[in-house]
Amino acid sequence: MPRWFRIWEKKRGSRRTVSRVVATVGETFFFSALFFFGVIFTAMTIASVVLETWPMRAMFPQVAFVEGECTIQETRVVQTGTEQYPHYQPEAMVLLELPGRQYHRWTLRRSPITYSTSEAAWKRLDGYEPGWIYRCWYDPESPGQSIVLERTPSYGLWVIFLVLISFIVIGGIGLIYTLLLMGISVERRSALANRAKSLELLREEIPMEAYPSIPNDANLTNSPGVRLAFRLPIEVSPGWWLLATLIFSLLWSGMAAVFFIAALGKHLAGDPDWMLTIVSLPTIAVALASIYAFLLEVTSHTRVGPTGLEISSHPLYPGKEYRVYVTQAGKMKIKSLRIFLICEEAATFLQGTDVRSESKRVVDQLVATAKNVEIKPGLPFEAEYQLKVPEGSMHSFKSDHNAIHWKLVVQIDAEHLKRLSRSFPIVVYPAEVELAR
């Protein structure tokens, strides 16, 4: 039955409606525009700075300032701000003598600087003595309004240059890349990438793959086991999750404390702010919940000790049997400890500007169960089980946006503790019977 043509939704493969010609023209136009915008405006900015004309003259008048000599006649500190919150601005009366005219001005630097105390403002004027001659800078077109004793760096000008140069670099690289790939098929691009990989220089670093697109298992087999061949590494260290819970709990509790103190202060002053109080209540509730979650994590990790998993051989092959050896330390009564063999498909895709990912479990096999076990400090739970990778299963796979992951998951259900799962990635190769030789 024919399907509706999807206008707005995501379309892939043969359902794609994208035109490669339009896409290439669009990319070329975009990068060209970026490149030429950068070149034109960089040239304009440089010319404007060198010739001291608009717009740089208006935006950064100091680029046109010239150096001169001024005599300080007097220094002072001016009080600005409000009565309640005063600020103190140091200034000096300078005299600039130019041929034919004298200019007087209260000044220090172009952007006025203020201090919260009068002492600090006076301290800023240390080194400026009335009657002495100092270097100063001024705009030759309006010296009376522009004299300064201190030049401030024009950071804004450098930011403008950096932005414009980044436009040139991004636009230029994008344009060259688009022009190079114009008229090149996706297969040829892939072949070029393959050839680049097999270059002599690179080959020394990257060994040729006997099983392309299967993740390397070097990191899984570099730790020998005590009882079996390899000790498998854990997928995500529990310490990281604990640290994340701690950081969230601290940050949120700090914010909640500020809200609470502010709201309490208003109540104690007899001027309750009900909106602040209403906002504070859920914030405090989340803070308490996060502290509880953190304490629960700490309890779980201190009572549920480290989990170790060893395997008799690696990589694994579908249809073959392996031995796994599990150790669980800690101090607790375990209701059940289960080991699962899991295979998940994972895909990442763009939705608008967001990168999204989705995963689907295709194998979820219970390998072993241990029930009602009491673990005491120094006496960890130890057991060896048999594991069989289902026949006809897909091997591990990894490409840029798609993957098939295999892992062993140890699930611990202990008394008075929340259920914990610890994952140990493994790599499954294609079944040997699939190979012709």
């Binding site: 299967i214 895909a347 995963s359 946006h401």
Partner: protein, 146 residues
Amino acid sequence: MTVDPKIEITLDRPSRVYLPDEELIASFEIHGIRPADVQAIEASVLWYTEGTGEEDLATHDFRRLLPIDRDDADMTKRRKFQTRLPRSPLSYQGLIVKIRWAIRVRVFMHQGKETMHEVPFRLGQLQPVVPMQAKRSSRKQADDAA
């Protein structure tokens, strides 16, 4: 008005099923255009993904033929090529990830037009994945029947 060329790709096995490390022999022929219209031909043995994720593609074997490559210069004639298939990735029909293998031939013509045709084949003999719920219910039915 120019006519689109017709690309005919033939594999040495009618079943189109190959095992890893096996030799694959394929041939292709172009019909419906004059040999002089052909600027280049690209033939590739590749895999690509389908499903929820963005499409990934990788070529295992890639050949680009230009008229100057051969004395006869008639690139529409039947051409044959062979390649040893890799050990992975195997063809796979999962729930959100699918891996397809294919022979793809792309013809570039002087007018700037290009035509592509591909013939899929299977690497390995993996069965399509059954969703876990369906797997559980079929297992339960088998248990009940037993």
